[in-house]
């Protein structure tokens, strides 16, 4: 099927305002008759629930955490982009749009990206009005910094905790609506199925994680704001609870999954120490503003960093990309680190690490300035590694961080299933094959505050409120299906823990579907994953019961979905015979090792439809049409 992204016609800069005029509205007094389910309380979910509640809709909000304030958006450190041009350095909406399209390696939808750039300025205004304590300069104006993939300074920040502050801002607005009674919040509640009635999304089935009770909720529309899926790699910078379950189960109910192979590897994470490791910790790439990345020139150089003289160091990012230097985009920096380590020039006990050195910046600016800028990151680094980043270079290595792929949505953020809207990292729409730093926060809040309130009305205005009730047989069936899976997980009583299976899957994913992929490695993954999956259903051991709080059971359900989803991800990567952004196929590279796109054959969104667990998914294509930018080679040299 050829999918239509439903981009409005007309000039790029006028699409969104024209579309807003064309969309239908719901009368203020009718809004309360509509119920909207919002799953997830991160930036997208909290801002959407708050805004929809404020407009007068009835909102049911769900999160697996014990409080909506703990969603993983909270961990974003560096900042949020906006085209304010406060720096007077020639920034503009168009430039932010262009940087984002180019950063995404020309694999995103022009109209969505332009809209994102357009609303970026409103987001900053909104957050300041809500009390987000952004950094200020001495005159009281907002401060800003530069970030990877851009040559202007457009990133606003709140120390190293921008995500936390933005999320708490959205959580405050959300809390206000809880108090007002327009948003009902269900914490420690996990979505385990999407309910589709007559082809439209009309509800969800959930498990109360404290009592184990499985029940369903009906609504007029469902918004999934359920984040990304990179925990399929076992080790990532995501929180332990981040999972693909909500999205994957929507996929199994007919929603298309777009570009799952576009995964982002973040260059500045703390290297792995051993088998026991449960997660990887990221340090904001804003560190690359002042830190210089290097490895020894010689292979296997085991000297301490300060014993290696300047002329025996290779500042490879500055050497390879003189105009962007240490601020080269994430995918490029990550791959360059992997190359250096694969050549045997990696540092640290495992050899999988490169130096991030602040010595020059400390000499130039003083330790106090560096401490003011990144103090919390240096502290975090020391806690984990027991090393002082002010005295010796930090060691960093790339780690899985973000999913550009997600459920397919049109310009209205609506999936191919009417009534199902997908926001934030959970959708695929704005970042193409690679996301630029400080753009995730922008997208999450943009979708929730400024897009969904308009576009959901256009759907609701065309549908009668309360069309589907929980008495509908589809709801009953959904609950039974979920109960059945839960019982099955508890009854296998095999010999391996959930964690062992997850780790095994993660290793297959990282080795074969990681930073560098090949036809051979992908075929290996596609063969191995179903084998692990088969063993999972025969040899898993989950202790405890389904009737109370059981973290093993929760994890088992999530890993069961990862075991199917990992295969989909690998299949998408195998289908895409080109390299672009975060998707690097070793067969498709330039003579200098840069990614080689194939615009003639792959300038499309790959949206996969579910056909059965052991069946190949169906490929639907949304052709990407570029009317405003030339598809250049993405050079940062």
């Amino acid at each position: 099927m050829i999918l239509d992204g439903k981009s409005p016609s007309g000039p790029l800069a006028e699409k969104w305002s024209k579309h807003r005029q064309d969309m239908k509205l719901v009368n203020p007094s009718n809004k309360r008759k509509y119920k909207i389910i919002v799953v997830g309380t991160g930036l997208a979910g909290a801002s959407a629930a708050a805004t929809l509640g404020e407009l007068g809709y009835n909102v049911e909000s769900f999160c697996y955490q014990d409080s909506p304030r703990r969603a993983h958006s909270i961990a974003a450190q560096g900042g949020i982009n906006a085209a304010k041009n406060y720096a007077n350095d020639s920034d503009s909406v168009y430039r932010l749009f262009y940087d984002t399209i180019k950063g995404g390696d020309f694999r995103s939808r022009e109209s969505n990206v332009y809209r994102l750039a357009e609303i970026s300025n409103n987001i900053i205004d909104q957050c300041v009005a809500a009390g987000v304590p952004f950094a200020r300069d001495y005159s009281g104006y907002l401060d800003f910094r530069s970030f990877g993939g851009a040559q202007v300074s457009r990133t606003f920040y709140a120390r190293g905790q921008t995500g936390q502050q933005l999320l708490l801002g959205a959580y405050s607005a959300f809390s206000r609506q809880v108090k007002a009674g327009s948003v009902r919040v269900h914490t420690r509640t996990e979505m385990l199925d999407l309910v589709v009635v007559d082809g439209e999304a009309k509800g969800i089935t959930v498990r109360d994680m404290v009592t184990g009770k499985i029940s369903c909720y009906a609504a007029d529309a469902v918004c999934l704001c359920t984040g990304g899926y990179v925990n399929v790699y076992y080790l990532s910078t995501n929180a332990q609870g981040c999972n693909v379950t909500a999205n994957y189960r929507a996929y199994k109910k007919g929603a298309f999954f777009a570009n799952p192979c576009y995964t982002q590897i973040h260059p500045t994470c703390i290297p792995v120490t051993g088998e026991h490791q449960s997660k990887l910790t990221l340090m904001s790439e804003s560190l690359r503003n002042d830190g210089r990345v290097w490895v020894p020139l010689k292979k296997g150089d085991k000297r301490k960093p300060h014993e290696i003289p300047e002329n025996e160091r290779d500042y490879y990012l500055e050497r390879k990309y003189p105009s962007f230097g240490n601020l080269a985009p994430r995918d490029i920096s990550s791959r360059a680190a992997k190359e250096a380590c694969d050549e045997g020039r990696g540092v640290g006990p495992s050899g999988f690490g490169v130096y991030l050195d602040f010595a020059d910046a400390i000499k130039r600016l003083g330790e106090d300035t560096i401490r003011a800028r990144y103090g919390n990151l240096f502290e975090m680094y020391e806690r984990i590694t027991d090393e002082d980043g002010y005295k010796q270079p930090m060691r960093i290595y790339p780690a899985l961080h973000y999913a550009m792929g997600g459920l397919w949505v049109d310009y209205n953020l609506q999936s191919n299933l009417p009534g199902l809207f997908v926001l934030g990292e959970a959708n695929f729409s704005d970042h193409g094959a690679n996301r630029l730093g400080a753009s995730a926060l922008m997208q999450g809040l943009g979708d929730g505050y400024f897009v969904i309130p308009y576009t959901i009305a256009d759907y609701l205005a065309r549908t009668k409120p309360g069309k589907a009730l929980v008495e509908n047989p589809e709801f009953k069936k959904s609950v039974e299906d979920v109960e059945c899976v839960t019982k099955k997980l508890l009854s296998i009583n095999g010999r391996k823990s959930v964690k062992e299976f997850h780790r095994e899957l993660g290793k297959v994913m990282w080795d074969n579907v990681g930073m560098a992929r090949s036809e051979e490695s992908l075929k290996t993954a596609i063969k191995r994953i179903p084998e692990i999956r088969e063993e999972f259903w025969k040899n898993l051991r989950v202790t405890g019961s389904g009737d109370d709080l059981n973290q093993e059971l929760e994890r088992a359900g999530r890993v069961a979905d990862f075991l199917e989803f990992g295969e989909l991800l690998a299949r998408d990567a195998l289908n895409r015979n080109e390299s672009c952004g975060g998707h690097f196929r070793v067969e498709y590279q330039m003579s200098d090792g840069e990614a080689k796109r194939d615009d003639e054959n792959y300038s499309y969104v790959a949206a996969w439809g579910f056909r059965g667990i052991d069946k190949e998914p169906e490929l639907h294509k949304e052709p990407l049409v570029f009317e405003n930018v030339n598809l250049g080679i993405r050079s940062y040299k």
């Binding site: 805004t51 955490q65 014990d66 409080s67 909506p68 304030r69 703990r70 993983h72 909270i74 961990a75 406060y86 205004d125 957050c127 009005a129 809500a130 009390g131 304590p133 952004f134 950094a135 200020r136 005159s139 009281g140 709140a158 120390r159 905790q161 936390q164 502050q165 405050s172 809390s175 206000r176 809880v178 108090k179 919040v185 914490t187 929180a239 332990q240 609870g241 051993g274 026991h276 490791q277 449960s278 910790t281 990221l282 975090m380 806690r383 984990i384 027991d386 505050y449 400024f450 309130p453 823990s497 964690k499 051991r541 989950v542 202790t543 405890g544 109370d548 709080l549 973290q551 093993e552």
Partner: protein, 247 residues
């Protein structure tokens, strides 16, 4: 290294709980405290036993989910560190470690080391926000904010809502938590408009939830993983008194 753990196990709020002994063997000093517990849980699964449940999520010290009292100290006693960021190199081979949940009247136990902290959410719901609508905000630079005010607001805003302050306080008080939000918003010109109303409703909500009052023990500041200072409690009191005065 090998350790002996005494962990609080409690099936539900209705069942009585007790400290149970476990052995943690071959623990690497590079492990985080929670990774050490993961290892113990893996053993329990292999023995066919129910795992120790504990709250955790981001494991990088920012979500505020993890909540354990280790050897009597919420978050374990390393300065400005959450449990998830505490590493085993801070312990010695042969150590005995006592692990308990947050204990406070306003935080009922859910299971094992997990407590219900929704009372903190309800304090925010009472008034920890600006009552502005989405859309229509003035340009972000329309109202200037002096750097020192913005810095103080940010110092307060760093609170992660973990509740260690409550667990450490002999009165089970949530004054530090409430003060942090009141201070953050009161420092900003945008937040001053509702400051009087806010401090009253938040304080009222705090008392209604069963949190105690502050009697200046400063235990909250000592265990706060984000270094939130008790001077904010003074600010809260000042805002509260200001709100009682006639205009």
């Amino acid at each position: 290294m090998d350790l002996t753990l005494f962990v609080w196990r409690q099936k539900s709020p209705k069942n009585p709980g007790k400290l149970q002994e476990y052995k943690a063997k071959n623990i690497s000093p590079d492990m985080s405290f929670l990774e050490m517990l993961d290892e113990v849980n893996e053993e329990l699964v292999m023995e066919g036993k129910e795992t120790i449940v504990f709250d955790h999520d981001c494991r990088e010290g920012i979500c505020g989910t993890c909540s354990q009292v280790i050897n009597g100290i919420p978050h374990g006693g390393q300065e400005r560190t959450t449990v998830c960021q505490l590493h085993m190199r801070k312990f010695k081979d042969g150590d005995t470690i006592y692990i308990e949940p947050w204990r406070a009247k306003a935080f009922p136990i859910v299971k094992d080391l997990i407590v219900d902290r929704s009372a903190l959410d309800r304090i925010i719901q009472a008034g920890g926000y600006m009552s502005n609508h989405t859309g229509g905000a003035a340009d972000a630079n329309a109202i200037l904010i002096p750097k020192p005010a913005a810095e103080t607001a940010m110092d307060a805003a760093e609170c992660i809502g973990c509740g260690a302050c409550v667990a450490a306080c002999p009165n089970g008080s949530a004054m530090l938590f409430t003060a942090a939000k009141v201070t953050q918003l009161a420092m900003l010109p945008q937040g001053q408009i509702e400051a009087a109303q806010r401090v009253c409703v938040m304080t009222e909500a705090m008392l209604k939830e069963g949190f105690g009052n502050c009697t200046n023990h400063y235990e909250c500041q000592a265990v706060c993983p984000k270094g939130i200072k008790v001077s904010f409690i003074a600010k809260l009191n000042r805002e509260f008194i200001k709100a009682q005065l006639p205009l």
